[in-house]
């Protein structure tokens, strides 16, 4: 019984400590190690139809990466989707739009969604994630040879080429591995 209580005390203190470390962690201080993974920066995609329809051509961007007005604009112009035709049957289109608007950055409590919202003005309708001031700030140090001129990446639109855990909503520096280059450390 004594041992049991001791084990519980040790476990609880470890948990508290690790939460402290995690909360104190920042993008630029990723060397500290935590046994407990902190919550994702944006909510991962949780909609089968969206994933199925949109990821046949590109990475299924989590809805928390853009404000509602952006998704609204994107979903009403699918016949010219950045130069591609991405038309959908109306029932699918409106279902996907509903999912995106219901989970857009402005509706999320998560860290990166909030930072994205703080970086755009209320009237702005950014159509590309790569145009977001927050996105630009986070990526301005990356040389072209690692992304645009890197045959294994090609463009900043391909989040998951370098952000290995993008699918799960994690974009932290310690989860970056640039193809043909390796870890990114600034």
């Amino acid at each position: 019984m004594k041992y049991f209580i001791l084990i519980i005390i040790v476990f609880v203190s470890l948990t508290v400590l690790s939460v402290k470390v995690t909360l104190g962690d920042d993008d630029h201080e990723h060397h500290r190690y935590s046994v407990f993974e902190r919550q994702p920066g944006v909510a991962p995609v949780k909609n089968h139809l969206y994933e199925q329809e949109c990821s046949s051509c590109h990475f299924a961007y989590p809805p928390g990466l853009l404000p509602a007005q952006s998704w609204q604009a994107i979903m009403t112009g699918l016949d010219d989707h950045f130069g591609e035709n991405a038309e959908l049957a109306e029932t699918d289109r409106s279902a996907i739009q509903g999912y995106l608007l219901g989970n857009s950055a402005d509706k999320s409590e998560l860290r990166r969604s909030q930072k994205i919202m703080r970086s755009v003005t209320e009237s702005a309708v950014p159509l590309r994630i790569t145009e977001l001031p927050y996105f630009k700030r986070e990526h301005h140090e990356i040389p072209a040879r690692l992304v645009k001129d890197n045959p294994e990446v090609g463009s900043f639109s391909q989040c998951d080429r370098c952000h290995q855990e993008a699918k799960n909503g994690y974009f932290s520096e310690n989860k970056i591995s640039i193809p043909g280059y390796g870890r990114w450390d600034d």
Binding site: C57, H58, F59, F82, G83, E84, N85, A86, E87, G154
Partner: protein
């Protein structure tokens, strides 16, 4: 009860596979309503590699731009570079099984490639060609 189960099984065996294999047949019948001659895989093959340049970038585009000329191989999205699973039903059994999916991609990809929707005749030839792969 037994009879019911047996009847249900017979129904399932008779009709379910037919509904899967029937996606292309159903569409070909629809297209054929506006046409007299039979659809031809060779005509479809010619369409497959025919290039069009009437797009904003003035780049030559064909079906093969993304899907390649070998329908049994992996393709690659011209813009996003995302791999495209093989289109040949002989290699990829999921292909050509769903009318809605076929219609969606024929609409999008005809517009992307040719700058307009395909005619029923073109779609008939193309589907016949893809089905033969």
């Amino acid at each position: 009860m037994k009879t019911l189960i047996i009847l249900a099984l017979i129904y399932a065996i008779t009709y379910l596979p037919a509904s899967y294999a029937g996606a292309v047949d159903q569409l070909l019948n629809e297209y054929a309503a506006s046409k007299t001659a039979a659809f031809d895989a060779d005509q479809g093959k010619i369409l497959w590699t025919k290039t069009y340049t009437n797009n904003e970038q003035s780049q030559a585009r064909s079906c093969a731009t993304c899907h390649t000329e070998n329908l049994g191989a992996l393709g690659k999205h011209a813009k996003t570079r995302k791999p495209i699973e093989p289109l040949a039903p002989s290699v990829n059994a999921e292909r050509l099984t769903d009318v809605k999916t076929i219609n969606k991609w024929l609409l999008r990809n005809c517009k992307w490639t040719m700058g307009r929707e395909c005619t029923a005749e073109e779609k008939g030839h193309l589907l016949t060609f893809i089905q033969s792969q």
